[in-house]
Symmetry: C2
Subunit: 279 residues, 2 copies
């Protein structure tokens, strides 16, 4: 069977980026004897040139300098072996699962929820939809994604495609170098950062077909009220979340494909995750 995600992706790539030029290459394949029904690739037919520029890294460099939720500790890294003494260098890491750019698996909030290592891998390559609420968040750190934001995105980009990964861009990424600004704690001890609103979460889960969601903040939920509504709605529906995404401004609002290199330790409620977007 044909790999539909690759073909659909390429159809879309071709439509955007110069279909006719690419069709020339495709037509050449048709002209080559036997290619229309070939079951094995021609020797050397697969080429992924080095130096292509359309992979974006949506992952923060993970270190003890990154802000973390007050419940958690920053990454600890301890060199244990050295090239001079042991012939190789290696460190030991101690980390809380929900630090850095990381996944929330359903079991993080849902009793009996699935762990990250058991999520089907076909959910980890998905159309990426980026909905920005950054202009509003710049004025109101307690703002949330509303259903109207999703509908406005769809008026421009079309309906959220089946099997999509929906990320909100709040602008918090830019605050990472200043952890106090990122956590944004007020005098009363409340943290202020935007998130998915409860109604938008219910809409995405109930009215659209998504595999997971992401945010450039540390929490799917806005933090000031202490609600877990977005977490419970998404994770309760078996979706995963990715928190503390980086570089969402480097990718288009529609048309990219996200690749989620999630944690695979047994019984993972989450963990550090490498996230790419291919445009």
């Amino acid at each position: 069977m044909c790999a539909p995600f690759v073909i659909d992706d390429v159809r879309e790539q071709l439509s955007r980026r110069g279909f006719l030029a690419a069709l020339g290459g495709a037509a050449a394949l048709v002209a080559a004897p036997g290619n229309a029904s070939a079951q094995t690739p021609a020797p050397g037919a697969v080429r992924l040139p080095r130096g292509f520029r359309d992979v974006h890294d949506l992952t923060h460099t993970y270190s003890s300098k990154l802000p973390v939720f007050p419940s958690f500790h920053p990454l600890q890294m301890t060199p244990k072996f050295s090239i001079a003494k042991d012939g190789f260098f290696a460190s030991e890491l101690t980390l809380d699962e929900h630090t850095g750019t990381h996944m929330d698996a359903p079991m993080h909030f849902v009793p009996g929820g699935v762990s990250a290592d058991r999520l089907p891998v076909d959910r980890f390559i998905a159309p990426l939809c980026v909905v920005s609420i950054a202009s509003r968040a710049a004025k109101d750190a307690d703002t949330t994604l509303a259903v109207d934001d999703v509908l406005a995105w769809e008026r421009t980009h079309g309906r959220i495609p089946a099997g999509a990964f929906v990320a909100i861009h709040t602008g918090w990424d830019a605050r990472v170098p200043d952890p106090a600004s990122f956590i944004n704690r007020d005098a009363a001890g409340k943290n202020h950062a935007p998130g998915f609103g409860a109604e938008a979460a219910a809409f995405l889960v109930g009215q659209r077909d998504i595999v997971g969601v992401g945010t450039d903040t540390l929490s799917l939920d806005m933090t000031a009220t202490g609600t877990s509504a977005a977490h419970v709605t998404f994770l309760g529906a078996g979706k995963y979340g990715i928190e503390m995404l980086a570089n969402l401004t480097s990718v288009p609002a529609s048309g990219a494909t996200v690749i989620i290199g999630g944690p695979k330790h047994e019984g993972a409620s989450g963990g550090p995750t490498r996230v790419y977007a291919v445009v």
Copy 2:
């Protein structure tokens, strides 16, 4: 600019899997007004249907049960929060970088070598070449990949493409459930598992254009002699290694694309890595 890896991949997919049927869809795009020069996708044009079956997970489930090198400790996982008490579940992890399915970055063996977090991301999506030495390794655990093995692979599959990731399949994957058999220690305390031979490593680095290499064993080098020649050759040339790959028998020897979700902690000599192959 066009994303060449996607287009080349799809040309190859189309040639293998039914070009004419897919061309029908492509032709429909041509017929739609404006598509040939469109710069933005048509609304809803991006579809990655759930349930496609051509993503393979080359990552072992990471747990304290996996075999590790004697220098290292198995993964430790400590639950620290519970849904009943804290509203969420989360664990703390302590791990040695070079355990589970993991990356070796150049700095693991090379003074001044680059760390995993600084490797360019365009090296992490690459044509996957799988060279099997499993039949020989079943009789001789100390066997190594030879230059002749690579040349024999090329006679069947064509020259190793530029920017490739070359993995050896030794059959060790099947021993993972039995750590003693995987480590394969003899009465004298020597471990026996296959690896890349020094000459083959030099050939791949000097005569072919590769981004990295992988193995289903715990070491790029065969283990009995304690040599580090393969490590030093590959990492010294700025390539990365992936050790303890899983499921290499699930993917073709040629034609798949590997996606390396590598560690991104600052100064990583390596670390747990999520690896997919898209066929």
